[in-house]
């Protein structure tokens, strides 16, 4: 492969993968903070306000990381993907500009108020600032997904006389069929991350025996939200997303599943290693006929394998696509199991005392990040060899006036910078977690009665 092109691809992949560690946490946390603020308003208990303030601190640090690593993303369309930008800017520039105008202004303005203005705003005003930060971050997610959905399944455009891509229908762009399930799937994924993080830190406090009632509150909210979100991840959002892929990117589906041959009653592969030389899956462990059923609701349905498509339409890194997809689905299944058991124990009232299970919850911390990242790798590697599916190949999109040497220079720069940012982030978040929410100086009357 052309080395400049490979570097441009890796440059974007690296910076966007790193960036998305933070928004997946903040978008989900924004929702959980709104829930905490709502509980504070409803019950009048200061406990929930302090919980919200504690998560506000974690949110603030993560949000700052998301902002500083997010700005390079918008610039890199132009710096590293000039040919793509020139051709498609008139279409996807719309959604990216709308993100700036509609969500970033909202988010940044009210985050300032949320972090700096609690006393002056009063409880209701502060609730509104939290809500508007939530709204802004979820809108931002929508515009980014709309942009990505157009690249996955371009709609609402026509080709000009010189082959340029012209926007033809604004609503066709925003209400693309691909957007709905991708957006739902992605946002649910961010709730999974945030609720696992919240439950995990709550479990840490309970195991440590520190920070009083906060551990219970965090575990309770984390488990309830996490159980709902984990289930929604599979059905209906994951299922809907899968059907879109089956319908519009069948070759991607075949590659994701490691299905080399077209067959009736195609199996779902649990484990196995794609061998691209022999064109087969090594050491397969399969559930027969399940893929046919999941895709077409018929056990003996015919599912197209890679051999049904010309090779120049195959995604160019099938093993990576296959593994990232299987990691996502495998982890997602584990999440459902862990969260349903936790919810059951919570309902029975044994969760807070069950040290072994609290350990399980604690150790789940990194996995939602891995699952979300694997999901995005599936989406992006699955779109290859196209940058705009069926319209423009990735190899035609890069900035050919920027040499491999310059790209490598900035790639190394970003790697160094992000390594430092990671250390800094972990250091600051660890401090906040150790410090914990402010303890209640005197237990409030109703709390004392409850005990």
């Amino acid at each position: 492969m052309d080395s400049a092109l490979a570097l441009h691809r890796f440059h974007f992949a690296f910076t966007v993968t790193y960036h998305y560690i933070f928004p997946q946490l903040t978008m989900g946390l924004a929702l959980l903070i709104v829930i905490l603020k709502t509980m504070a308003l409803r019950t009048g208990e200061e406990h929930f306000n302090r919980s919200a303030r504690f998560w506000g601190k974690i949110f603030g640090i993560s949000f700052a990381m998301g902002v500083v690593t997010g700005i390079p993303m918008e610039f890199q369309f132009g710096t590293n993907w000039a040919a793509f930008s020139k051709a498609a800017g008139g279409v996807i520039g719309q959604t990216l500009a709308m993100e700036g105008v509609f969500s970033f202004f909202l988010e940044s303005a009210f985050l300032g108020l949320f972090l700096f203005g609690e006393k002056r705003l009063g409880p209701k005003g502060h609730w509104w600032s939290a809500f508007l930060v939530f709204l802004g971050s979820w809108l931002s997610g929508f515009f980014i997904i709309a942009t990505n959905a157009w690249m996955q399944h371009p709609t609402g455009y026509r080709l000009g006389p010189g082959g340029e891509i012209l926007l033809d229908s604004f609503w066709g762009l925003l209400l693309n069929r691909w957007v709905f399930w991708q957006y739902m799937h992605n946002m649910t994924g961010s709730v999974v991350t945030a609720s696992f993080v919240m439950a995990s830190i709550g479990a840490f406090y309970l195991l440590n025996g520190t920070h009083g009632n906060y551990g219970r509150t965090f575990v309770r909210l984390g488990v309830i939200a996490g159980a709902i979100a984990s289930v929604l991840m599979a059905v209906p959002t994951g299922d809907g997303q899968g059907r879109n892929i089956a319908r519009y990117q069948p070759v991607t589906l075949a590659a994701m599943e490691g299905l080399f041959r077209t067959q009736e009653g195609a199996p779902v592969v649990l484990v196995g290693q794609p061998d691209m030389v022999q064109r087969r899956l090594d050491n397969p462990v399969e559930i027969p006929r399940l893929l046919s059923f999941l895709t077409y609701q018929r056990w003996m349905a015919d599912v197209k394998g890679l051999d049904s498509f010309p090779e120049d339409l195959w995604p160019d890194n099938i093993p990576l696509l296959y593994y990232s997809y299987h990691i996502m689905v495998g982890l997602g299944t584990i999440f459902i199991a862990v969260m349903l058991v936790s919810a059951w124990k919570l309902w029975k009232g044994t969760l807070y005392a069950s040290r072994r299970w609290l350990w399980v919850i604690l150790l789940m911390l990194p996995f939602p990040f891995i699952a979300n990242t694997a999901g995005w790798i599936t989406a992006e590697v699955g779109r290859q060899p196209w940058v705009i599916y069926g319209l423009m190949r990735t190899s035609q999109g890069a900035s050919m006036n920027v040499s491999a040497g310059n790209t490598l220079f900035t790639l190394i720069g970003f790697m160094g910078m992000y390594a430092l940012l990671s250390i800094l982030f972990l250091f600051l978040v660890r401090r906040e977690i150790e410090h914990g929410p402010e303890p209640l100086a005197t237990p409030e009357p109703e709390m004392a009665v409850k005990r």
Binding site: G78, N80, A82, G89, V101, L115, G117, V402, L421
Partner: protein, 346 residues
């Protein structure tokens, strides 16, 4: 329609420079005027709740440029590859320096981020100025509308130029001094104690430098980019833009002496606005002139998106901006007046 979007993008970039300009200036002032920790915190608090929103203007302007003039976005962002990446790194350093400084109360931690804040702010000011200098001077565009510039070559303005030559560095210095003045006036306006007396002095020094460099830069601009004088003579009403700049600069001096802090800051805004609009007016209808063959320069017409997209863009841009301005009015009112350190954020 293309001209309208040219104006819109220009206004958004100007809003970014005016607003984030005082954040950058505060970063520079932070080093030369903030002595005690409480003074440094006052400076940070004066921009704390707003800097992020101010920076959004850069993103919103970039996004708008992207969809309204995709050809310009693609060509300029890839051609200015290295300086843009350096700007991104500096924006990262600036952002985390502001956000993370007050998380740890430690005599090693805080000065480290103070240094990062000032260094990043100062270099950003120079780079933004140099970028404007490049746009005015022109770049070696090829027939397909692309170019690539190294950071520097021989520092001359003729032939094989780099991003940094003596002219663009001069514009960078002017930007640095201008934002120092702008930020110093902002901090004067927002703080109490001994600090404002010191920042007023900083603004005074910077003002003298701005005056001298404005003269020099104007002189050289007219020699390097003949389009500017052409535009001024064919449309003499355009002289109103440099006039605004001059009036703003004089206003800064006058209001500072009278102790009218708000007016002095607004006059500084007028100066910056006058300079930016003069530059935009001077190169119009080019958005990226060529320094080798004027025929190859990118104009608003050759780089704009199709009419349908531009029309539909207006339909959401106007309500979107009304909302955004609403937030800004609300938040600046909320944090109006001198900062108080009693109510700490988190």
């Amino acid at each position: 329609m293309e001209t309208l979007w040219f104006l819109i993008v220009a206004v958004m970039i100007a809003a970014y420079v005016l607003l984030d300009g005082f954040d950058l200036g505060a970063g520079i002032v932070h080093f030369c005027a903030g002595r005690t920790d409480s003074e440094k915190r006052q400076i940070l608090r004066s921009i704390g709740p707003v800097w992020d929103g101010n920076e959004v203007w850069l993103l919103a302007a970039g996004g708008t440029l992207y969809f309204a003039f995709p050809g310009l976005y693609a060509s300029s962002f890839s051609g200015f590859y290295l300086p843009l990446m350096i700007v991104l790194w500096l924006l990262i350093l600036r952002g985390i320096s502001i956000e993370f400084r007050n998380h740890v109360d430690n005599p090693v931690w805080k000065p480290f981020w103070d240094g990062g804040f000032t260094l990043a702010s100062a270099l950003l000011a120079v780079f933004f100025g140099a970028a404007l200098g490049n746009v005015v001077r022109g770049v070696p565009l090829d027939a397909s509308g692309y170019f690539f510039l190294p950071l520097w070559t021989h520092f001359g303005v003729q032939g094989d130029v780099g991003i940094l030559d003596w002219y663009t560095v001069l514009v960078g210095l002017l930007a640095f001094l201008t934002l120092t003045m702008h930020g110093a006036l902002w901090v004067t306006l927002k703080t109490t104690g001994e600090l404002p007396a010191r920042t007023r002095r900083v603004a005074g020094f910077a003002w003298t430098g701005v005056l001298i460099l404005t003269g020099l830069v104007t002189f050289f601009t007219l020699r390097i980019q003949p389009q500017v004088w052409n535009n001024l003579t064919t449309r003499p009403w355009g002289f109103v833009f440099p006039a605004i700049a001059v009036a703003g600069l004089l206003g800064v001096l006058r209001y500072s002496h009278q102790g009218r802090e708000t007016d002095a800051f607004l006059a500084s805004c007028a100066y910056i606005l006058g300079m930016l609009t003069s530059a935009a007016f001077g190169v119009y209808p080019y958005v990226l002139p060529s320094n080798t063959n004027p025929q190859l320069g990118l104009t608003i017409y050759s780089t704009a998106a199709a009419p349908y997209g531009l029309k539909i863009g207006l339909a959401w841009w106007i309500p979107g901006m009304v909302l955004a301005l609403g937030y800004f009015v609300f938040i600046y009112r909320h944090f109006a007046g001198k900062v108080s350190l009693e109510e700490e954020g988190y």
